[in-house]
Each structure stands twice: as structure tokens, then as C-alpha cells.
Symmetry: C2
Subunit: 259 residues, 2 copies
């Protein structure tokens, strides 16, 4: 029987709120099995860009990672946010180790090809170094991944944190029985976006299609759900979406996704 | 017989010069034994402080690490510089992993006590997690340490990179036959500071005392040499000081320090 592994991605709004972040880190540190943490950067990168007088480049409403923005992403995601999380986890007796995809060649990617838009230094994941990450877990380390990968040719790449979490979960599911958690400010996937208590408890492939056609899954939730089902179709056992209550015993108010 | 280990610290002037840095990284990647890389931050942190409009605090000519400066140090040393080095080493088939002292609880320290000067978030090293670092080396990883430690209570600390290198060398010498390299822009310790070819080939405890009284070792070199002899007195086999030629075969133009 495969050992269980939890891969947990937390959203930017939790990262930015120190008391919420510390509450989460406390819950994370108490998970008594192999675990991996994935974080995005929140708005801190925007603040640093602004302070440094670097304009945020947008094309068709989408942010472009030029060389200067990439440097700031590496500083904020890979440096400030990642090391603060790691040092806080260490104080909670969780032996965390901060990682980008370049560290240990853990996640390799390629620069997104230029089509009608040139996204700049944005990475699409090619693969996960399951062997290296398994070895770190065997040392009882808890890897903390920021949203950066590399192309194995010396180029760092800005990469969507939801995607990093699902690709890690897919890669690790060859060795572990993997559950993927997306933890954010909402209680789960909502039937009615204006009613925070309308959590849909369970979504499978069939009800997923219905929810899309009903319009319950839209906007920011759509790519997240696509990541979830991509993970489920590729070996991940279960995906859970909810707020910090995901990690509290007795709580069942979250969304579970299965095939 | 203990296995050999090389611990190599490079100076800020090499970090700042991309062609020198890449030349060094190429030489480092070719070292065919367990190896650890330690880097400071160079002037990039000052540039970021300036761009962000954060004043550098100085007391009695010494820089003070206040909370804002620490954040910038964490961004630049732990993020930008460290991850760029790691991704470049990966492109050279060297399986590098970036580390601060918080990662894997690898180097723990305490905030320097306030005496006549309050240095702020400056760390004095208490110990090295030899077991964790040995395990990473067994996985054929090459740790790349930036100049940051932590206090195990959630506080990151800015720490002198020369000190990190010597403390790592001392800690690892319980398990490995450790050679410590300080690599910078000069050919070695110079008899006459104005003659770059006046390299002193060998310094031992006796000649060290004479050189100090003659004034050959002064200014920036003095704390570096103190770090070297501290390391030698605590189990490190040999220290070498020189430029990139330290890692080129046939070259003997550098300073070797022994007890």
C-alpha cells in the first residue's frame, strides 16, 4: 500500500494576512504525514515592483513577465515569502526546506511559446523530479515550493502556483497516495457565489460538466477546477478545496473532487 | 578514512561580474567530489535598497540590519542571487540546491546581543546541522548557501558569509576531511598589498602572528584570516585563499593556511 502524501497550495489572500498565514502554518506543522506546501506570492510582488518604479506590463489584460518582473518574482516568491514561511515552520518544529523548481532540478519547464501573446518568462511545466522529492520526504523534510521553475538551461520561469501544485501531485502520485488541497478564503466551491454557505460538498466528472453549463463554475474558479480534474485524471486520489477548516478535525464544510 | 569535502565561498566582486561568476560556476560544477558553495550578496542589495527608497542605516561606520534591510537581504541573497546561481549550476549538470540557514534547520544562530551598538537582525552562528547537510550530499546534491541564518524561533538573521563558510567547514569536518576555499579577486594573501604578485604561498599559526605585527594582514583581510584559523583550530584540514585559479589544475599561485 502506498504511503499517504498531502500537497497543499494556499492562496495569495492567506499569504498576505499574517495572522491567517500563521494559523495555517500551525495547522500545516501538525499534519502527521509526509507533506508539501506550495505558495504563490500575493500582492507583495506588486508592492515591490511599484516601490522599485518598475511598470507592470499587461497585454490583453494579462500580466507579462519581462526580465525585470521576473527578478522581482524571484526576490519576493523565492526569497522573502518562501524564507519567511520556512523560518516560521521551523519555529513550529516542522523541518521545512524552501524550494524553487531549479533547486534539486525538482520541477523543469519550458518558456511558454509565443503565439498571439508573448508572456515573457512564464513557464509551462514539463516534469517533476519525483525521486529527489521522495528522498527529501524520506529525510522527514517538508518541501515548501514557491511559484518558480527553470528550463534546465539556466533560465528561471514564473509559473502558476495552482499548476505547480497539481503537477507535483501528479508526479508524486506514482509513489504516494496523494491528496491535493487548494486552500483559500472561501469555504469551497460555491453553488451561488454570493452565498458563502452554499458549498458544494462533492463534485465528480459528471456534476463538473453540469456546474459549468449552469454557470456556477466561472472566472477564477474555472482554471483551478481544470487543474483539479487534470490531476485526478493523472493519478491523484482526491482534491479538496476550502478554507483553513480543511485541516481542522470535525470540519466537513469543504468541496471534495473525485473522478 | 574520511571522504573529502570542498566548501567554497566566493566574494561579492565575483558575484557582481557575470562573466567571472559563470567562469567560477563552470569550474565549481567540474569539482568531482562532495561540495558546498557559499555566497554573499555583493552590491545588488544596496541597489535594491536605493531603488526602494530605503536608507542604509550606519552606526560608527558599520551597517545596521533593520527590519526593512533584512527583507531586502532575504529578497536579494536568498532569492535573486541564490536562485540565479542554482539555475545556472543546473544548466551545467551540477545538481545544486539553494539554502538559507532556515532551510532544513541547517544553520541556527542568535541575534547579536546589543552592546554599545545594536546591529539589528544580525546573526551569530550557534551550530550547523551536519546530519542534514551530509544527507543532502549523499543524494549527490550540492548545497548553495546564502548569507542568512535563523534563530529557530521564526526570525531570519543576516549573517556574514565568511563566517557561514567557516562554521559550515567546522561542522562538516566531524564527518568529512574538509578543505575551505575563500575565492575572491586577489591571487591570495599578499606580502605587499600594492603588488598583486606578492602572494604568500603558505601561512601557519607562527607566520600568521608575524604577518600581523608586520602589518601585512590588516583591514578586511584580518577578520577573514581570523575565520580561517578559527576553522583550522576546530577540525578543518586546510584553508586556501585565492582567485578563480584556485580551481584550475597546475596553478599553485594562492595562499594555503594550515595550523
Amino acid at each position: 500500500m502506498k504511503q499517504q502524501l498531502s500537497i497543499i497550495k494556499i492562496g495569495g489572500n492567506i499569504i498576505e494576512n499574517e495572522s491567517e498565514l500563521f494559523k495555517f502554518l500551525d495547522l500545516f506543522s501538525k499534519i502527521d504525514r509526509p507533506k508539501i506546501f506550495v505558495h504563490g506570492g500575493g500582492k507583495k510582488a506588486n508592492q515591490v515592483l511599484e516601490k522599485m518604479g518598475i511598470a507592470t506590463k499587461m497585454v490583453n489584460g494579462r500580466r507579462i513577465t519581462d526580465a525585470e518582473s521576473l527578478d522581482v518574482a524571484v526576490m519576493v516568491y523565492g526569497g522573502l515569502t518562501n524564507k519567511k514561511i520556512v523560518s516560521k515552520l521551523q519555529s513550529l518544529q516542522c523541518n521545512a526546506i524552501g524550494m524553487s523548481g531549479a533547486d534539486g532540478n525538482s520541477i523543469h519547464a519550458h518558456k511558454r511559446p509565443v503565439t498571439d501573446i508573448d508572456y515573457g518568462f512564464a513557464g509551462d511545466v514539463d516534469g517533476v523530479n519525483t525521486n529527489l522529492i521522495s528522498n527529501l520526504l524520506k529525510l522527514e523534510l517538508s518541501p515548501v515550493f514557491c511559484a518558480l521553475t527553470h528550463d534546465q538551461k539556466g533560465q528561471l520561469l514564473n509559473t502558476n502556483a495552482d499548476t505547480i501544485a497539481s503537477e507535483l501531485a501528479i508526479g508524486m502520485s506514482t509513489t504516494f497516495e496523494t491528496t491535493l488541497y487548494y486552500c483559500f478564503e472561501l469555504n469551497g466551491v460555491l453553488q451561488n457565489f454570493q452565498d458563502k454557505n452554499s458549498v458544494i460538498k462533492k463534485i465528480d466528472s459528471n456534476s463538473y460538466e453540469s456546474l459549468i453549463s449552469e454557470g456556477s463554475i466561472a472566472n477564477g474558479m474555472l482554471p483551478k477546477m481544470q487543474n483539479c480534474f487534470h490531476a485526478l485524471k493523472n493519478g491523484v486520489k482526491e482534491v479538496r478545496i476550502g478554507n483553513l477548516g480543511l485541516f481542522e478535525k470535525e470540519n466537513t464544510n469543504y468541496t471534495t473532487l473525485v473522478l
